[in-house]
Amino acid sequence: MTISQIDIRQTDGTTQVALQGSFSLATLTPLVRALAQATANGPVTVNLAAVTRLDTSAAWAIITAQTQTSASNLTIENPSEETKTILGAVSRAMPKPDTARPKPLTLKDRLDRIGRTMAASATFMIELLGYFGLFLDRIVRSIRHPSDFRFTALVHHCHEVGVKAVPIVALMSFLIGVVLAFQGSTQLRQFGAEVFVVDLIAVSILRELGILLTAIIVAGRTASAFTAAIGSMKMREEIDAMRTLGIDVAGALFVPRILALLLMLPILGLIANIAGLVGGGLMAWIDLGISPGMFQTRLIENTGIWHLLVGMIKAPFFALIIGIVGCHAGMQVGSNAESLGQKTSSSVVTAIFAVIVTDAIFSIFFAQVGV
């Protein structure tokens, strides 16, 4: 790299700026500064005789200095042929800023923004409901025309959503059972009521934790997978291609996915229940000396079937929420990679949030009906 040098000299009223060497982006800041300083006091001549290379940024700096002072005050001397072409090209291409400034935010704008956000969330709810309707409609249609139903896709998604989730769901539930037994036993021991740890584990796992935590894990891994898969198809115009080929998008993409979740989530929940009880039982045995046989007897005697049913009733609702939120978010993906990531994470957050809210509503409902 050749070194660049800027000489500023005052001779009878004019400022002489002599540039020497190669000028590029790296030397732009000192060049702009030197030119600003020179043009501040009267007429300037810029001598380019010793310039070896002048790039567009340096040319821009000289031309900007020229346009900012009145044109006659800055003269360019001795440019080489190359420099002249660059100066010419840059002066033709000088950006002309459009002076449309952003207006300050008024109260009306703020209210408008709040209103739009509210309206958008209402629309979001309506759209989700619309997707639910679409799903039901396609299910009915598949019952009428069973040959249209995509059985292979269903099996594939059952494998993806269900079978592949078994290890993580079982492990998580097992550990939750262990933790419950451990925490429960330390508390209950104070009252000498260690044996109630069985009821504690059974009720909390069967009614709430088993299915809720399964739904949260499935929301995390499946809602995001649905959104990413459908979203990237949307991004690459595959969805549009399907439409033009006369393939029903909802029937081909949504139904197998949501139906797979609907079938698999109760099974996963059941597996989680079993793993949770095993974990709790194991810990009760180790920590409190409650033998597996005793655990089993107490479990069967003291835990009504409704505890299990309360948990399992919720499974299909959670499955529908996760599936619909995931598919809907996938269809909202725009044409850039950014929106794919954004929609994927928002679908997970929405799905988990909706699952927890629904669970709370169910708790109130079951408390009211007394089961």
């Binding site: 732009l28 090209a89 291409a93 002309k96 800023p97």
Partner: protein
């Protein structure tokens, strides 16, 4: 083979005995090519003859099995990381669809390579990006737009603006006019020609577009039979006897392109 007439000129890219291979499929073998300073070289060839692979090899995106590639006096294949970084700032690459970063607007996209320049004021950097936007023939307000809001032609221009961000000495263009309408394509041809002349750029462009070859290229290299079969000016290539080359430059499309150029020059 046409005898090289450019021996007195400065070679900026020198490729010797290049060999590229994917599994058992040999793309290039004993490929030699010289690119001279200040010229616009067009690389043509049938689909699958490895035009893009050649471009990617020169830019270091693809490591060849054997051979030597010298760019601006640096051996690309054996260069240290620092040498490579220095070299990468002296060339600009425009990918087929612009390859703009979708999370950044056009101005920020152009600023990305400028961020490595030490001591450059952010305000000046933004102004430089505006200059590049304008040099690439985009309207001022395009700088605020995101790639997804631009048309294909504008994305290519924005990609070109980013490739020009550091005022490179060599510009690599991959299919610059593919997917553009004829008006946009010929405007792009003229733009490339103008920029290469006014900024003293050496341009290496891979293309299928016969109009681009006629309108912008000083020299054309034909890839066939795993190597550069011939290279020379359009006039020289018109006289080449090889069947594929003859078909390419004398086919119906080629004649139409030639007629159009002749008509333009006649006016």
């Amino acid at each position: 083979m046409i005898a090289p007439k450019h021996q007195d000129k400065d070679v900026v890219i020198r490729i010797r005995n290049l060999r590229n291979q994917f599994g058992s499929h040999i793309v290039h073998e004993d490929l030699d090519l010289d690119v001279y300073r200040g010229e616009v070289l067009g690389v043509v060839g049938g689909s699958g003859t490895g035009k893009s692979v050649l471009l990617r090899s020169i830019c270091g995106l693809q490591t060849p099995k054997a051979g030597e590639i010298d760019v601006l006096g640096t051996n690309v294949l054996t260069a240290s990381d620092d040498q490579r970084t220095a070299l990468e700032r002296r060339w600009g690459v425009m990918f087929q669809d612009g390859a703009l970063f979708s999370s950044l607007n056009v101005r920020e996209n152009i600023e990305v390579p400028m961020r490595h320049v030490e001591g450059l004021d952010p305000r000046l950097r933004a102004q430089m990006a505006d200059l590049k936007v304008s040099l690439a023939g985009l309207p001022y307000l395009a700088g605020d737009k995101f790639p997804s809001e631009l048309s294909g032609g504008m994305r290519k221009r924005a990609g070109l603006a980013r490739a020009l961000a550091l005022d490179p000495e060599i510009l690599f263009l991959d299919e610059p006019t593919a997917g553009l309408d004829p008006i946009g394509a010929s405007a792009f041809d003229i733009l490339i020609r103008q920029l290469s002349k006014s900024m003293g750029l050496t341009v290496f462009l891979v293309t299928h577009d016969l109009d681009t070859l006629h309108a912008t290229c000083d020299r054309v290299a034909v890839l066939a039979e795993r190597k550069v079969l011939v290279s020379g000016t359009m006039q020289e290539l018109l006289d080449v006897d090889h069947p594929w080359v003859h078909e390419y430059f004398h086919g119906p499309r080629a004649r139409a392109a030639m007629d159009a150029i002749a008509a333009m020059k006649g006016e």
